[in-house]
Amino acid sequence: MGEKRGKDDGPPRLEDLAGRLLGSVLDLGFALWATARDVADFSVRAVRAAADALLDASLPSPGRDDERRRPRPGAPGGRGDGDESPSRTGAKARAEAGRAAADATRAPRPEGGIGTGTDPFSPPLPADEERDRLVAVERDPATLFAWWDVTVETRDRARAELDRAGDRADGEPRTVLRASIEGAPPKDIDLPPFATSGYVDRPDRGEAVELTLGLARGGRFAPLAGPFLVAARPAAGDRSVAIWRRVGSGGAEAVVPGAVPPDSATPTEATAPSREESDRLVELALGQPTTGSPPWPAGRSRGPDHGSSTGLPSSR
């Protein structure tokens, strides 16, 4: 913005400064708009700024990865557990490997290689799905992940609906994800204008929640996609109630305790251990005591912690 000034041109003039400031604001505004347009999701806890355009610009090339080895299969403790490999110096070695890889001379990438952006056999992804839909899945016991698509026609229709019903002086409609729980007023979660996915806190007690994507303005709501029902999370089971089935090649059939004749060749006794015995079995299974409260909140069990020091029983 503006002509380049030489060092002997004296102090900057106000109009030059204003011009530069305006240019900076416009550049910043464009950057924000471009970023907002490219935002692929929102998060109530974190904002993700990556986008397809940015990803297309960063398509991989052989040698750009820090570590070109097979990491996924069989990584001890690293089966998603986040543990390091068993080597005590694994992290250091990987860092060294990364440096070595970065320092190595790289040969030119082959033309048409996977992910080069010029590969005719890697066509671009569709920019949008041209459908109206909303889907949500459980990410973890406390969080849902939702994604959606909305056609231009549906968005225009919803907006027109709001315009007919309300006062445009209320401002631009907001894109919201409406979460409805039985017995409670719906909660609207504001979304960035061009977001197509995001994370939603699950209700504290794991109740069923209905999600609807829509436009909101002045207390009014026009749906865009959904509703999508997320079922309630099952409550922790009661160990005192046991139902028994006989499993055979044709599936499972019910077993009535006491009505099953004893058979020494194929034991069929369907008698449950006592509550204390059952608790002890859970302790043995996990290597952790289960007296008192369970070691994890009901419905939020995290399974064995592979970083714990429990190991095998101390009697070994």
Partner: protein, 536 residues
């Protein structure tokens, strides 16, 4: 031993994503397969064949993923494997010359030469360059119970949101298993142990009898299991679920206290591929010149803060013996304690990635051998068996629905839905919806259209692999993983659009078929089943 003893169900899950790049003469990620053949699958076959030869009672469950089966059966990859191992045998000879004056190091080089020599001899001479029939023979002989998993190892709880997606993963997997082994599997390995209520119904439709979930998938079942994880539960659909045993997993998997981290064992990370001058590694490094592991690792773990010492095979063998004894003895105590509390024999389900044994943990196959032999001598009081054996002997099972769970970090879906990879589900879902629509509308298509439909189904399955978001979330080979997802979704999009518009390009289709030639007999209508979108 009583007629119905407690069981240790050792389950090895062998899987690699489909990494076949005929468009390149040498592609780095194909080495994943070659390393696994050398270090895992051949040694595993040799361990089992050794147990059979010595008449040691044994029985293991082995999950072979459909993509792995396809790659093992692929002539191009078979030829490339032989080239891979031949180059390493040549390098080993040069290394033996170089280390002539260092007896300790030379011995380690010889060990590596022997590793590659055995791999080549077993692969080429004993099994005619195809290992799949060997696994089939071992199943027919009773050594193994083979099971399948998702067709491309898709994370099923996430895919369940898209009608038809889970059905496609399961039905294609079972069809592939039948193609290779002439029978449907009784067991089904849930990729990543990913389970959500409702998935059992899909398995039941395909007559799957048992599957495996993470420990808390059983312990949080509804109603709660009375036997902890020492017995399975059966879902209302009739599929039995076994829970991963936490203690046996910790003994092997834990970075802090697991066996593979012992100082005597071979260090995985220090590889000559990062140590030696490039010109010496010329034939082993990729064409790009990147420094990568080449499979020659001469040092042992040694210990934190210490200079790494040369690997000592005798020291490692001693440690294997001790760790096998520790594992069996510890398990015997736990099983004994559980038996006293139960009115049926306990079963301990110990699943591991097969690639742990031999690749990540070099001594793993030897440890498996020693464990099997220790158990077979009868003193521990339990046997090796499979879940099918357990169900046959103990058919009365508590009914319960396992909880949503996985064996990923935090035990849920967070690895596969995280900043960095969470752009993927929306595209997979959209593609699945379009696949169902076009396959339904073009039902009965023939010729070029049918080929395009089949290829579209393949591309979508390949995009669904759980490996890609996992690699992205871990930041390793992330660029490659992302490129794979984009490539497959992009190919699917073009195939779909060309089908809709009637603009199929046969030459382009033929090239895509050549590159992604997995599941040759796939039914293009495989996505049209599966019902309506379920509520989460």
């Amino acid at each position: 031993m009583p007629s119905n003893p407690p069981l240790l169900a050792l389950l090895l899950h062998a899987h690699l994503p489909f990494v076949r790049h005929p468009e390149h003469g040498d592609f780095l990620e194909e080495r994943w397969l070659f390393e696994a053949i050398t270090e895992v699958y051949v040694p595993l076959l040799q361990v089992i064949e050794g147990l059979r030869r010595d008449r040691v009672p044994h029985r293991l469950a082995l999950s072979l993923s459909p993509t792995l089966l396809d790659m093992l059966d692929d002539p191009l990859l078979q030829r490339r494997f032989v080239r891979h191992v031949d180059l390493r045998l040549e390098f080993a000879e040069r290394e033996l010359t170089r280390t002539a004056g260092d007896e300790r190091l030379r011995r380690v080089v010889e060990l590596h030469r022997e590793l590659f020599r055995r791999a080549r001899d077993c692969f080429v001479d004993e099994h005619g360059s195809s290992l799949v029939p060997a696994f089939r023979r071992l199943q027919e002989a009773g050594s193994l119970e083979l099971l399948t998993c998702g067709a491309t190892h898709g994370f099923l709880p996430l895919l369940a949101a898209s009608p038809g997606a889970v059905e496609a993963q399961v039905s294609v997997a079972i069809a592939e298993h039948r193609r290779f082994f002439a029978a449907a599997p009784a067991g089904f390995w849930l990729p990543e142990c990913g389970f959500a209520p409702g998935l059992d119904e899909v398995l039941a439709r395909h007559e799957v009898r048992w599957s495996v979930v993470e420990s808390h998938g059983i312990l949080d079942a509804v109603p709660a299991p009375v036997h902890g994880t020492f017995a399975p539960v059966v879902a209302p659909s009739g599929v039995a679920f076994y829970g991963r045993d936490a203690e046996t997993s910790r003994a092997v998997w834990s970075a802090a206290e697991g066996y593979p981290g012992n100082a005597a064992y071979r260090d995985f990370h220090v590889d000559v591929g990062f140590e030696r001058p490039s010109e010496e590694l010329r034939t082993l490094l990729p064409p790009t010149g990147d420094r990568v592991p080449v499979g020659f690792k001469y040092l042992r773990v040694t210990g934190a803060g210490r200079t790494k010492e040369p690997y000592d095979p005798d020291l490692a063998a001693e440690r294997v013996e001790r760790d096998a004894a520790d594992f069996v003895d510890g398990l015997a105590r736990r099983i004994g304690a559980a038996s006293a509390l139960m009115r049926r024999p306990p079963v301990v389900l110990a699943p591991y990635d097969a690639e742990l044994f031999g690749h990540w943990w070099f001594e793993g196959p030897a440890w498996l051998d020693r464990v099997a032999r220790r158990i077979a001598d009868g003193s521990p009081g339990f046997e090796l068996g499979t879940p099918s054996d357990d169900l046959a002997r103990n058919p009365v099972v508590q009914q319960a629905m396992p909880a949503a769970s996985s064996w990923g970090e935090h035990g849920d879906a967070s690895v596969w839905i995280a900043p960095g990879n969470d752009w993927i589900p929306r595209h997979l879902d959209g593609a699945c919806e379009r696949m169902r629509a076009v396959a339904t509308e073009m039902r009965g298509a023939t010729g070029l259209a049918r080929r395009a439909l089949a290829q579209a189904a393949r591309e979508l399955l390949l995009a669904q692999a759980s490996d890609w978001p996992f690699l992205i979330s871990r930041g390793t080979a992330a660029n490659y993983a992302e490129a794979r997802v984009r490539a497959h979704l992009g190919r699917f999009a073009r195939l779909h659009d060309d089908l809709r518009r009637g603009t199929l390009d046969e030459a382009w289709l033929a090239e895509v078929e050549r590159r992604d030639d997995v599941f040759p007999e796939i039914d293009p209508e495989v996505y049209t089943g599966g019902g309506r979108r379920p509520a989460v």
